[in-house]
Amino acid sequence: MMDAALTLTGITKTYPGVRALDDVSVSVERGKVHAVLGENGAGKSTLVGIAAGSVVPDSGTIGLGGEQFARIQPRAARERGLAIVYQIPALAPSLTVLDAVLLLLPESKRPKRRGAGEWLTRHFEKLGLRIDPAATISSLSLREAHLIEIAAALASEPSVLVLDEPTEALGPEETRWLFDRIEELLAQDVAIVYITHRIPEVVEIATDLTVLRDGKVVGRGVVADYTEDQIVELIVGRSLETTFPDKAANAPEDEPLLEVLELSGPGFSNISLSLLPGQIIGLAGVEGNGQREFLRALGGHGSTSGRMLVRGEEVSLRNPRSTTRAGVAFLPGDRIGKAMFGKMSVRENVMAPSIDEAMPTGFADRRREYRMTREAVDGLAVKTPTLETPVMALSGGSQQKVLLARARLGNPRVLLVEDPTQGVDAGARVEIYAFLRALADSGVAVVVLSTDAVELEGLCDRVIVFSRGQVQATLTGTDVTERAITGAAVLSTTGSVRTVDAVPSRKRRIPPALRGEVQAGVLVFLTIALGIATTFVSSAFVSPLNISQLLAGASVIILVGLAQLLVVMTGGIDLSVGSVIALSTVVISFFGQGGPGYFALGVALTIAVGLGVGLVNGLLVTRLSLPPVIATLVTSIAIVGVAQVLRPSPGGSATGDIMTAIGTTIGGVPLVLVVAVVVSVLIWFIIQRTGLGRGFRAAGSDPVKANRMGVSVPRMRLYAALAAGVLAALAGLVLYTRTGIGDANTGQALTLTSVTAIVIAGASIFGGSGSAIAVAAAGLLLQTITNALSYLGLSLSWQYWLQGAFVLIAAVIPMIARYRRRAREIE
């Protein structure tokens, strides 16, 4: 105990309705593998999440690197030598492999950005991996992402390494490879926390063990003191016989209830099965071998060919609506995201699919609904204070029971259940198993997908093991054993993945770092084409005066577009940029009548004002967690008010000297455009090449994963808001150099323009990516359009129509491209 590298003491963590961890203490010693065991939802992942800083405990202390913490930030944990490999890789999807690895490494281990690519290639080579450092995370498979996270953890030379179900996505060869790495680390006295539910692995590599059940420690000690069976019993909490109901008697002679004929879809092909009423069939396999996709296809999600018959009648699998109508009820594993209506009551959740029956007259009848709800949950022991309690407030087990009650109320003929006991405590499990068996006995065909082979063994009459989208084995009767199921699943992987370095070389598309620049090229081309076309109509378009005005105007759009880009990239939106521009022109207009020194003071003050607005926006969003759109809308209106108070009517024209000075051109190019372009390049560099830029992209791409990677998402959002305030103030200054007056009512339309600019620049409107250089090109194009309109004899309304249409078209195109790409992958 003296030599513990990581100690967790008295950790308690509650989620709404669930006590995930209850006074848990674990001490991990150097040079040993400490296995943390338990069923799904026992609290293992929460525990290591707390150690790694991605979950904040309610109480307890974390001891790491000789210090004690009540809570720890992910970055701080990494800096103190803790490296973690999550069960689902926590890598923000829009980053490149290189970006992700650099972000994961602690400061002291991070190589210089220049040459980092080669360093990473060498590191991968040393480990026997062949992964392109320039590939985007979202284009990688789950397996590859896992290997990258492992590689990054190894590169950080940790003192504590946490592995959360590392072998789930790996084949036997890769598992062997991982165990060899673990041996090396043990030799260097590294402490290893190993989470798994594969008992043989524990026996093979672990020295110490801690077993969790329903958030409590139920066993700890030295692995060698236990037999495999004893460990299983500790995990499950009772002997297997008492957990599971009796199976169906000999198969009743009957017509098949459910028949699936040569069904194919993304991830699986040519699957056929037939199921009698009263039977429970299990779907098994290593994660990612098509079993999930197959189950979802039966629920009406994404099959491409094949047929399904229920009681001999063909059922369309086009959408969940047609399958539901045919009596197929589907309970997805992601209860919160895909099955429940979290904030709505138990009653509303149970009644949801049976609204027609609950409201026979077309109008709601509370009493009838209560009666039906009671009937539905009868015998299920749903623990809830009232039927009006939001379902989110119940425990995982009670939530699942509510969903099962709902399914039963609809008198289904076929029930599809994905991970029925995920996050369900041990007591409720038993009831759920009994419920499923009783439902089957009443003549329903039940299809269960589970990652837990013990569960399948105990519950199912027949188990189908998937491999690479096909049926690897079908086990029936006494062959349905945990050993046979895992055996068939694991055996199958040998074929698919021979060696670790067999990463298929993928077709190289345009690297993401360059995609923005390609977009910029297209936009510049469009600008020139439009310019030429306009010149044919009116040659005055290319007069030096007009071009100079056009370029100066473009710089306003470029700057305000960059402001919007940074905010959108971090997952927000800023509706106050137009108002900041108005306020800036007003503020600077009070300084236009003095000398240059006085004017410079005004410029500084204007920028400070922009910074202030950005600070307010940023704090409203990060501290008070206001939605960005509402926060910036409120500030926007307040700022315009301030601008109007300062200057009720436009005025404050600058002296000629100052106008001349700020209107300087360099070889026909206005100084302000040069400034705008320099700022664009600078921001492009920051986004693409620096740690801050990686943080921005990660935060916008996936806040939860970014936080796990050690990025402080609120800080990134605050920085983006500050930068947006300053850039919008700069845009206001540039606008003043063109008009020479302060006008509180100007600039509002520029908010729309800023959004248009980033959308046509190809930045992701969901956050995470975007090129500042493409925004600059978009600014140029938009101003050229505005400018060309008058030469083409079109009214001002076209400016709005074109911008609106641009946003819609530019935003829809990537969506269509994605649909088509997906369609192609299915083929």
């Binding site: 999440g49 429940m340 709601a364 204070p385 009006e388 409120v634 109007q644 249409a805």
Partner: protein, 355 residues
């Protein structure tokens, strides 16, 4: 919650009650807090400005409350579907312009129908793009707002129009001494409330808003509900515009800009969650009443619209923060009292971390 984590197999099978006691049931309605806020505001109004609750003052305030309520009912529907409609300014302005310009040129009734139905086409467009392409509502409605402003520019040529006398007579008329617009708004609110709370359609609408993926999984086709929310929001926005044209007689070409923030603020103050799902249009209407009375109060202090804007934005901001922080969950309220500090929201602190 009295959830047991240490479960025994012999779980107590005491049946849960149908609902809580009537008092706590009423207190848990989202509209209740809005009602308390409105009552409190009216109670302090005479302390701030003596004339602010006189019958004259209230009668002059009600038409504006009615307009905010109508436009905010539409916004409520969109927010229930997890979206936000930023095209309200365009819808209000376009509705007002068409009613004013063509109300004198054509038959008034035709002009009103064209103003409302014609404008709503843009809402239909937003809804279709959002439902079928999964684009963020913010971006789509910003774009459709631009399309409507473009239409305003094209139709008006940059000049405001005087609206027909019949329209302004109607908008300014009173029934039993109460502005007719108030009846109009109350009617719309009651109809929408009944449809939402008492019909199959309304229940499905709320289910889809709460979680479209869950709704799809139990066989509800979700797109129609999403599309109709944007369609109705724009239609109600245009209706507000028509009435505004009557009320103002000479609606400006930026008349709708003043309705975006109030439409959202009324929804938030009314207790409808921005994350979608169940909503309360009665709460929204009370929120609108609150905002209109607030505007009235601020007006008694200063005639400058700029200052009014600042003060209103600040108070609305505070109100939104308060409503969101208290967030409809009494647990959070209790937490505030117990620890005196707002629990800092943390992105990691989600259920997702336990996978």
């Amino acid at each position: 919650m009295s959830e047991q984590t240490t479960t025994s197999t012999a779980a107590p099978r005491t049946a849960p009650a149908d609902r809580r006691s009537a008092v706590s049931e009423v207190l848990s309605w989202p509209g209740t807090r809005a009602l308390i806020a409105v009552l409190a505001l009216f109670a302090v109004s005479p302390l701030i400005a003596i004339g602010s609750v006189s019958p004259t003052a209230i009668v002059s305030m009600l038409p504006f409350a009615a307009l905010i309520a109508i436009v905010a009912v539409g916004q409520t529907l969109v927010i229930q579907q997890g979206g936000l409609d930023l095209s309200i300014p365009g819808a209000v302005t376009l509705g007002a312009l068409i009613a004013a310009k063509f109300g004198t040129e054509w038959d008034l009734a035709t002009a009103i129908v064209v103003a409302i139905v014609g404008t709503s086409v843009f809402g239909l467009l937003s809804g279709i793009v959002i439902a079928y392409f999964g684009l963020p509502p913010l971006v789509v409605t910003i774009a459709s707002n631009a399309l409507m402003i473009g239409a305003v520019q094209a139709i008006s040529g940059g000049f405001s129009e005087q609206s027909a006398k019949a329209l302004s007579d109607f908008a300014l008329s009173r029934l039993w001494g109460i502005p007719v617009l108030a009846f109009f708004a109350v009617g719309i609110v009651i109809i929408v409330h009944i449809v939402l709370k008492l019909t199959r359609l309304g229940r499905r609408f709320e289910l889809v808003g709460e979680n479209p993926r869950s709704a799809a999984n139990i066989g509800i086709s979700t797109r129609g509900y999403v599309i109709s929310s944007y369609w109705l929001a724009t239609m109600l926005g245009a209706t507000t515009g028509v009435l505004l044209a009557g009320l103002l007689r000479l609606p400006t070409l930026t008349a709708g800009n003043d309705y975006l923030l109030p439409s959202i603020a009324a929804v938030v103050l009314g207790g409808t969650a921005l994350t979608g799902g169940k909503g309360s249009v009665i709460g929204t209407a009370l929120g609108a009443l609150f905002l209109a009375q607030l505007g009235q109060l601020v007006q008694t202090f200063t005639q400058a619209t700029a200052v009014q804007n600042i003060v209103q934005a600040l108070i609305i901001g505070v109100g939104i923060v308060a409503q969101l922080q208290l967030g409809g969950s009494s647990a959070r309220l209790k937490g505030l009292m117990r620890r005196s500090a707002v629990p800092t929201p943390n992105t990691s602190d989600s259920m997702r971390s336990e996978k």
